[in-house]
């Protein structure tokens, strides 16, 4: 099979941008990625756009604004993993030899407040079942019961990620926070306090992918290979699964969508969690990050608290998690989120991450998971 490399990256910072349309954000990110890759109009054969709230033909609008249409443009919704789904399709198409060069991007302008989702039936909204943070809180409670994680650990995740985010000029929140302040922010859904939850926001991210031996491009940075890009959904049965069912079974041994995706990605990349140097994971809420340590097999069951306490997952530790500051610092523009992680990993693997650089990083993993369920796991490797 053909190897796939990242020829260029582009990012529109994550935050709130009054007056900018979702198309504007996408144009900024895609143009930057194309420029870095040295790819001009006519230089790519397909485009894949992830978005959840962008609406009909979002990708077409972005590429139309750039004067670059005619190729297949695929708009993809996969919740929090929309960008990962786009990356899976784009990279697999190149890997299979269908295209030499593709553009993969994600864009979003999120509504403010608790996210309204067309996922829920009218009666569920009327009866209060569309309370997304409540599901996070229930999941956090069960996870804490099973793993020994305390509220202090949840606060420590926020402190860590916000500390990392100080050094990320593209993040929304760039100030450190104290654990006491996290724990005294208002309770949204017990055990989760406001500062333990990420903010929905706006942003865009893009990558140009190219067949590793492609001679069609006239430049680009290269050197970073997409070793795996996997999307999985849920197996039925887990009541607090991201599939958000109304009921589930009492079997607690089902693998989660994240573990399904991670195992596939490790197999595809031909490596395991011990080979990873840096991870960007889904920290929609602080407990979600610690659950991800287990689900991605970064630690043994019930080992997340110890891993966090030992500083393993801080920049400077053995396996930094969310050196970008994570969603807790960047905010979460659903469609752009996964590709924002990929852009961060490319910067890390190139050694271009400035004061948040994970020194000597060669292999990175990006993880997103959300409603569907959709779980995306991407592994990048420096050639």
């Amino acid at each position: 099979m053909t190897a796939v490399e990242v020829a260029g990256i582009g990012l529109h910072p994550f935050g709130r941008f009054e007056g900018a349309t979702v198309t504007d954000l996408g144009v900024a990110a895609v143009r930057a990625a194309l420029v870095e890759a040295g790819v001009a109009r006519g230089g790519f054969q397909a485009a894949f756009c992830g978005t959840a709230y962008g609406g009909v033909a979002t990708g077409h609008k972005v590429l139309g604004a750039l004067g670059m249409t005619g190729m297949p443009i695929v708009d993809i919704e996969a919740g929090c993993a929309s960008g990962a789904a786009a990356l899976m399709l784009g990279s697999n198409a190149v890997r299979a030899g269908q295209y030499d060069t593709v553009v993969v991007f994600g864009v979003e302008k999120m509504p403010r407040g608790i996210i309204r989702s067309s996922f829920f039936d009218a009666w569920q909204e009327e009866a209060g079942f569309a309370a997304t943070p409540a599901y996070f809180g229930l999941r956090a409670q069960r996870f804490m019961r099973a793993s020994g994680v305390t509220k202090d650990h949840l606060a420590a995740v926020v402190v860590k990620n916000r500390r990392h985010g100080v050094h990320n000029p593209d993040a929304m929140f760039r100030s450190e926070v104290e654990a006491d302040a996290v724990l005294s922010s208002r309770v949204v859904c017990e055990p989760l306090h406001l500062w333990m939850l990420c903010s929905p926001n706006e942003g865009a991210a893009a990558v140009v992918l190219r067949r590793k031996d492609a001679t069609t491009g006239d430049g680009g940075v290269g050197g970073i290979e997409v070793a795996a890009a996997v999307l999985r959904s849920h197996l039925p049965g887990a009541v607090l699964s991201e599939s958000t069912p109304l009921a589930g079974l009492t079997d607690d041994t089902l693998p989660t969508p994240t573990t399904l995706a991670a195992d596939d990605a490790y197999e595809m990349a031909g490596l395991g969690p011990r080979e990873l140097d840096v991870v960007e994971c889904q920290d929609t809420d602080a407990a979600r990050e610690l659950m991800s340590y287990e689900e991605l097999r970064l630690c043994p069951p019930a080992g997340a608290a110890e891993m966090l306490d030992a500083g393993v997952t801080s920049v400077g530790g053995r396996l930094p998690v969310n050196p970008s500051g994570g969603l807790l610092s960047k905010g979460e523009p659903l469609g752009a989120s996964a590709l924002g992680q990929v852009v961060e990993l490319v910067r890390q693997l190139r050694g271009e991450a400035g004061d948040r650089q994970v020194h000597g990083a060669r292999v990175g993993l990006a993880h997103t998971v959300g409603r569907g369920a959709n779980a995306g796991v991407v592994v990048l490797r420096r050639s």
Partner: protein, 136 residues
């Protein structure tokens, strides 16, 4: 005075006590909720209607402190998961909205909870679980 109306049809009965309208798959034996023609766990179409137990135990709980999108009731309200003896866990409202007054495995039972009053002056109700013993 008009009779209460359910927030949606087909999920629960208006009997005393109320019951949740689920199903059971005769191929894999699992119960499900709400009622499906096709088993969500094994994809068999050998399913039959089954009213679920009105008594269960609390498995997870929280409280919703701000009105979620489209919600027509009051806050805070309790929200959680209750495990029924059929081997099924139900996502549900809880009548207790103070998480500190609930404990894991606490016995709970099904009730109908008033969400709001509709334009015709009728109570709109939804299923919820209430603690068997008054909270201490």
């Amino acid at each position: 005075m008009s009779a209460p109306v359910p927030v949606t049809v087909g999920l629960f009965t208006g009997t005393d006590p109320p019951r949740l309208l689920g199903g059971r798959c005769t191929a894999c034996g699992h119960h499900h909720f709400p009622r499906h023609d096709i088993c969500p766990y094994c994809a068999s179409d050998a399913t039959e209607a089954a009213e679920l137990s009105a008594d269960g135990r609390l498995w997870a709980w929280t409280a919703v402190t701000h009105p979620p999108p489209g919600y027509k009731g009051s806050v805070p309200f309790g929200f959680g998961v209750v495990e029924l003896p059929e081997g099924i866990r139900i996502v549900t409202r809880l009548t207790e909205s103070d998480p500190g007054r609930l404990r894991v495995d606490q016995p709970v039972h099904l009730v109908l909870d008033r969400l709001h009053v509709d334009d015709e002056g009728r109570d709109v109700v939804v299923y919820a679980f209430a603690p068997d013993e008054p909270s201490s």
